[in-house]
């Protein structure tokens, strides 16, 4: 599976993993898989694939169009697409500099900081939503000043959707970019610095182009995560068709009154996920290997 995702191993450049695999095979037939591994592996495949197959089988293919063109579904799709895109933009603009700070500098408390900013990776999103609500809600410790000084109320607005999505998705970008920065060859940066380029110029002209493939991969993952966001969004942004009801929330409610629409919307999200995975395989990851 790993080989499949990353691309075919080139004969000229066997990875240590491939070498280890060939050695471990020993005398057995190249294709033989021991039964104690094969059976659980098949169960795992069935478990992961069967539910998706169920979605496809149960889909109302005949009235897919009408189920999707219902005003709520179309609105939810449009809202999800633009909020996820804006959230990804915000993540890139503020997340890449943070990744650079984490990768290229050392300061006291850095490990704690890294743990804090990647916490949303493992934090249940609904907890993130509660936290956002208590901070930026109208009576929250930040939100109360936004409300009384600027008349800005964040909850239940598309801005709240973008904030919730940014909160849960940014760590995906940060860890991807930080990892790329750590493993990138710093020789070019040092050469540029030696030739008199400022640190900012080096970042712009050398570092960013070097990590571009990983940055792209991180942005796609970030976007996909933002698109699928549910818990933090429904908690912090509520739900109103056209304003804060994103695709996953529309799926959740449609299951109560129009299961066909829920399935149709789920198919769209499934399709988007497949496209994201395919684009990662064909462009970003293969590029990153080269």
């Amino acid at each position: 599976m790993q080989v499949d995702i990353i691309g075919e191993p080139r004969p000229s450049r066997l990875s240590s993993r491939d070498r280890a695999r060939r050695a471990a095979r020993g005398g057995g037939s190249p294709r033989s898989v021991p039964a104690p591994l094969l059976v659980p592996a098949i169960i795992a495949v069935a478990f992961l694939v069967l539910p998706l197959a169920g979605l496809v089988v149960r889909a109302p293919w005949g009235r897919l169009g009408s189920a999707l063109s219902g005003s709520d579904a179309a609105q939810a799709l449009v809202l999800s697409l633009w909020t996820a895109t804006v959230a990804t933009g915000v993540c890139v603009v503020i997340g890449v500099p943070l990744a650079w700070v984490l990768a290229r500098t050392t300061f006291p408390g850095q490990r704690l900081l890294r743990a804090l900013v990647t916490l949303p990776l493992v934090l249940p999103p609904v907890v993130g939503g509660v936290a956002l609500l208590l901070a930026f809600g109208r009576t929250g410790f930040i939100g109360r000043y936004l409300d009384s000084w600027f008349g800005l109320t964040i909850p239940f607005s598309p801005l709240a959707v973008v904030m919730a999505e940014t909160f849960v998705a940014m760590p995906f970008l940060i860890i991807t970019v930080e990892g790329a920065l750590r493993s990138a060859d710093q020789g070019f940066e040092e050469a540029a610095a030696t030739l008199g380029a400022s640190r900012m110029t080096v970042f712009r002209r050398i570092t960013v182009p070097l990590i571009a493939p990983s940055l792209g991969a991180g942005a796609v993952l970030c976007w996909a995560r933002a698109l699928g966001e549910f818990g933090a969004t429904i908690t912090f942004a509520g739900s109103f068709p056209g304003r804060t009801e994103t695709m996953p929330i529309a799926v959740y409610y449609a299951l109560e009154n129009d299961p066909d629409a829920a399935i149709a919307l789920s198919l769209v999200l499934l399709l988007v996920s497949v496209v994201v995975l395919a684009s990662l395989r064909d462009r970003w990851l293969r590029g990153a290997v080269q």
């Binding site: 999103p125 609904v126 109320t153 860890i175 990892g179 790329a180 509520g238 959740y252 009154n257 990153a288």
Partner: protein, 276 residues
């Protein structure tokens, strides 16, 4: 670089799975115990005169019944030593969907005949009985920041209103009130159930929410109630029925009977529910 790529994919998968799980768990259901299989046998001498009851049941009940049913559950357990009643509170529409999908419920108490009818039509319950009626009230934060004094105030664009989703009984009944009052209300959010509307009012994120009279009563000093005049008021009836597939139908029927009994009704009346 390869390892990074793989790690990122794995992390992404974990994140997506986690979010899916969180999505599931964000509904307020808390069912744990499935009906005990020891329904019919080996009950010790029970306090109940008519039949010896034992085991446990799970009651799926409308969110608005939370306080009253929690009290009734404790009283029912006290009257029948050895039995255990677990509740799953949520939007009646969501609970009905769960029951039809095979959730382990023994009793369903809905805030609307419509959602009970879905369950009956699916063959999961029969002969429901209306046990209470509920009417709507406007809940505002104690400081009433938007100075909401009447139903008509909810139509003002400056007033941030939270309602239930339209398929949830509290949402449908609120819409009837607006129809009676001939106003159009543009809410800022449609919440999954009545308690989450109340929470947004309590947190002060909205200026008003339309909830049941019983919810304003249950919230005590945390919200202020603005009554809805009888001329535009709307009500909803609450049916209750045991679930056909219950593994402990004796206990399920006993619980339904207890809710309908004077003891159960007095708890509901004390919480401002009306007779059906």
């Amino acid at each position: 670089m390869r390892r990074i790529a793989v790690t990122v994919i794995a992390a992404a998968m974990a994140g997506i799975t986690a979010s899916a799980l969180a999505g599931c768990s964000s509904s307020s259901s808390s069912t744990a115990s499935s009906p005990a299989s020891s329904a019919s046998s080996s009950a010790p001498a029970s306090a109940s005169a008519s039949a010896s009851l034992s085991g446990s049941i799970t009651v799926f009940a409308a969110a608005s019944l939370k306080e009253a049913f929690t009290t009734i559950g404790k009283q029912f357990e006290a009257a029948n030593p050895g039995v255990k009643v677990t509740f799953s509170f949520g939007a009646s529409s969501a609970l009905a969907t769960q029951i039809i999908s095979g959730a382990p419920a023994d009793v369903f108490a809905s805030a609307s005949p419509k959602n009970m009818k879905q369950v009956v039509t699916a063959g999961d319950a029969s002969s429901p009985v209306n046990f209470v009626k509920n009417v709507m009230e406007i809940a505002v934060p104690p400081s009433n920041p938007a100075h909401v004094a009447s139903v008509a105030d909810l139509a003002k664009s400056s007033v941030k209103v939270a309602l239930c989703q339209p398929q949830v009984p509290c949402g449908a009944t609120a819409l009837k009130v607006f129809k009676n009052a001939k106003i159009i209300v543009k809410p800022v959010t449609l919440q999954p159930d009545v308690k989450s509307v109340l929470t947004q009012v309590e947190l002060g994120n909205v200026d008003a929410g339309v909830v049941y009279v019983t919810d304003v009563h249950a919230a005590g000093a945390k919200v202020l109630g603005v009554p809805i005049p009888a001329s535009v008021e709307a009500s909803t009836e609450y049916p209750i029925a045991p679930i056909s597939k219950s593994g402990n139908s004796a206990l399920a029927q006993a619980f339904v009977a207890y809710v309908l009994s004077p003891a159960g009704q007095s708890v509901l009346t004390a919480d401002k529910f009306e007779k059906p």
